[in-house]
Symmetry: C2
Subunit: 477 residues, 2 copies
């Protein structure tokens, strides 16, 4: 059952309105990782609730309690639950998205104000959260608006769960999902889940995603002096925390991406010929990667190796150092306490539970080898297990049919390198199939400067998500 | 010729006034390393000029031109030249100091507002610049005030040169000093130089300092992608600049302070038994170092080793990384361009000219070994040569006599680990003896949080600097 032509026409005719609404959403600085923007994240929760109510959705804000951060207590932004339709003859689809965003400052290298949606002539809609994940969330809103305004019934029973802490570990959400998945809960009767919070591999081929990497994020602290020291006065008198930290961080991953923590890479079996062929078939080239990153710095010239690096291998990235000198110019300081930030993306069978002890043991051993008098502590910051879904399920068949209808082609079936830990929570709590159906392109620059969503992806993506609901209905109850 | 008792009494009676004036000076946020405070540095130059004029000193502001920083052009703060007395029968003493300060934010870990001088019950005067170097500069002013108010002639011809860029490489000053050292220049006829811009070794024993380490400061940049990347999407697909940079930084210095750049440590000969005895005699213990740094993390338990680490060995410190994630919390970014900051403190015969090529060659080789596709560049940021003075000169004898008179003991003769590049410029341009006569204690925390000057050091230090001028006069012309 394809989507009605009236729906597709409506989406085209309302494109400018949809973009204006995306602009309104981007303007709310809902950075969940920075306490100073917490009120904006909360404002964003209310904003999306009001938008849903306006198109006839029954909504509730759910308090998620408080967050303890750097000795302060912060209110968590409430989750927004939505519900429309309760027809036992229809399938019930639960949609998840998030309305918080990564930090963004013009000075990070943005060409335009990050929280002002800039519409470029080439169709790019540039702004923080445009693609990750306000655009997709508004895609669902666009569909609901059509059915509300045109007084059409949705082809499915609709449930939604939009949160404001995804970029900061989805704090509080797991408990909510588990609670609402029980009998009598908001998610009772849900038949499948659809999450639109990732990206195409390239800039032209739609994808369905059936796997995500997990994550385990660490803070590695080395401290010595009670205060920062002058490198002239104390250089070569004391054990410098930065020297120790840099030595430890240099032992985590090699220049080719191999993880040096014993046992981590070993936990993943090598791909056989058949599995390699799956990656060979994907519409993705080294040139696509190079275009997305803007440089010729892939770890390999072999497309299969590079794709497997994202999809089926763990990765370890060094993100930065807290407490050291980070400004421009030259400051001659010996920082007293420095905290290295690094994380490992996990693939089955890796989990924070089986990986963290390996990292802790290794750091402890390597620090002992240094023979420094400084103090070293490793803290697990946040994380989540990896996930793999069943691609033979009707949920995936419906998404494939929708892709064919909107884009006229078969989607690539991919595993994603990123982590959306709640995916696994939905799969495990509800015991139903979960699908990732992305809206944006591989070069959207989520978490980066100049994040964008292409106008065509926003508009055709809205059609895709709507058509997907009609294709689900075609499966019948 | 000891200082007149009236002078010493005057200093005691005016102590509170002197502290209030120091408070006024600290309140001016003359941070030379941060462009946003440049106007405050310029204000500080004018402030000290006005103060000097008020006590009868002939003054001139000297324009030092412009600074090019991060693509912007910034006005350099003017140097302040002062002159009082031109009696051919007297010796002419040139005094140098600086009125700019290191950056300071309450959030760095200060217990009080850094730019509000806080007078503690234990006599500590806490505030940025209290000890480095506004306190000592105001010490000279206190002396001048006595002679002006009491209508007493100074025992010497006085010249001063106060600058506002010391914490940022003394930009523009070398040329000024060289120019003014020539016949007809402001410094014509100068017989010796006194600089009060360092510290006692410990908290109780006055010192004269006859050596300074030089400095060479580097920015090591590694860049790959055109923009920051999401570690989920791109982790293990691309060469990550942070991985390369951390690998390179880990190869610069070992945990025990040994410099790993070939040829750098080798350039300095080992100390023989006699030289070790000089360090053994200094009134300084491991406990003193531990007290100053607030931790038991010295590189050795052997006092001589630790002192030689500061005074006669080069040191390499890793200061931080620009471009990486530095905030609290956990951001899963792959930074596109990261710039490691490190510097080497130099001792004779090391100079930036003979050390920089070794560093450049080593970085080039080590980066090539990594086999990364990223781009690596090394930039020399600023630096200066080390300096050693002749301690048998009458300039040192006068300072020793003044120390005996004010503190009742012989000073320790030390070499300092820090760098005041202009010291060498004065020595070379004027061809006269240069002495460092510090006012503050070893635990003052210059460049650190909670920088302080003890009230007794400010007051007795003023007496010391004044008595030194009288002792110089005693040598006769």
């Amino acid at each position: 059952m394809p989507a009605p032509k009236e729906f597709l026409d409506f989406v085209d005719s309302k494109a400018d309105f949809f973009i204006q609404r995306l602009s309104d959403a981007v303007a709310i600085k809902s950075v969940s990782g920075d306490p100073q923007y917490r009120s904006e994240v909360i404002k964003m929760s209310h904003w999306i609730k009001d938008q849903l109510s306006a198109v006839g959705v029954e909504t509730e804000l759910r308090d998620l309690g408080k967050q303890h951060l750097e000795g302060k207590e912060l209110l968590l932004p409430p989750a927004v639950l939505g519900r429309l339709g309760n027809d036992p003859k229809k399938k019930t689809v639960l949609v998840y998205g998030h309305v918080d965003v990564q930090p963004a400052n013009r000075s990070d290298g943005w060409d335009t104000e990050p929280f002002t949606l800039t519409v470029k002539e080439n169709g790019q809609l540039i702004g923080r959260g445009s693609s990750d994940d306000k655009g997709p969330v508004l895609g669902w809103l666009n569909i609901l608006q059509y059915h509300h305004e045109q007084k059409k019934e949705l082809p499915v029973n609709f449930r939604c769960c939009f949160e404001g802490m995804e970029e900061s570990g989805s704090e509080g959400l797991d408990e909510l999902v588990q609670r609402e998945s029980k009998p009598g809960g908001w998610f009772e009767g849900v038949d499948c889940v659809c999450i639109s919070d990732n990206y195409w591999l390239n800039t032209k081929t739609p994808v369905l995603t059936y796997g995500l990497r997990g994550l385990t994020y660490f803070k590695l602290a080395v401290e010595g002096p009670a205060k920062d020291l002058h490198s002239g006065v104390f250089g070569r008198m004391v054990h410098e925390p930065m020297t120790d930290l840099i030595a430890l961080m240099s032992k985590l991953v090699d220049v080719n991406g191999k993880i040096l923590v014993p046992g981590v890479d070993d936990m993943v079996s090598a791909a056989d010929v058949q599995e390699r062929q799956l990656y060979e078939k994907l519409d993705y080239s080294i040139a696509d990667v190079e275009s997305a990153i803007g440089s010729s710095t892939t770890l390999s010239e072999d497309k299969v190796e590079v794709l497997m690096g994202r999809m089926r291998l763990p990765s370890l990235s060094l993100h930065g150092i807290e407490g050291a000198f980070y400004g421009a110019g030259g400051k001659t300081v010996i920082p007293a306490k420095v905290i290295g930030k690094f994380s490992i993306r996990l693939v089955p069978p890796q989990t924070p539970d089986n990986i963290n002890p390996l990292v802790e043991k290794y750091i402890k051993e390597e620090f002992a080898k240094l023979g420094s008098k400084n103090k070293c502590t490793l803290e697990y910051e946040h994380g989540g297990k990896p996930w793999i879904g069943d691609i033979s399920h009707w949920n995936y068949e419906a998404a494939k049919a929708a892709t064919r209808a909107v884009y006229g082609r078969e989607p690539d079936m991919t595993r994603e390198g990123g982590s959306i830990p709640v995916t696994l929570t939905f799969a495990e709590s509800l015991g139903v199939n979960v699908l990732l159906l992305p809206m944006g392109r591989g070069d959207d620059g989520a978490h980066s400067t100049n994040e964008k969503l292409d106008r065509s992806n926003f508009i055709e993506g809205t059609k895709l998500l709507g058509t997907y609901l009609y294709e689900i209905a075609a499966v019948g109850k």
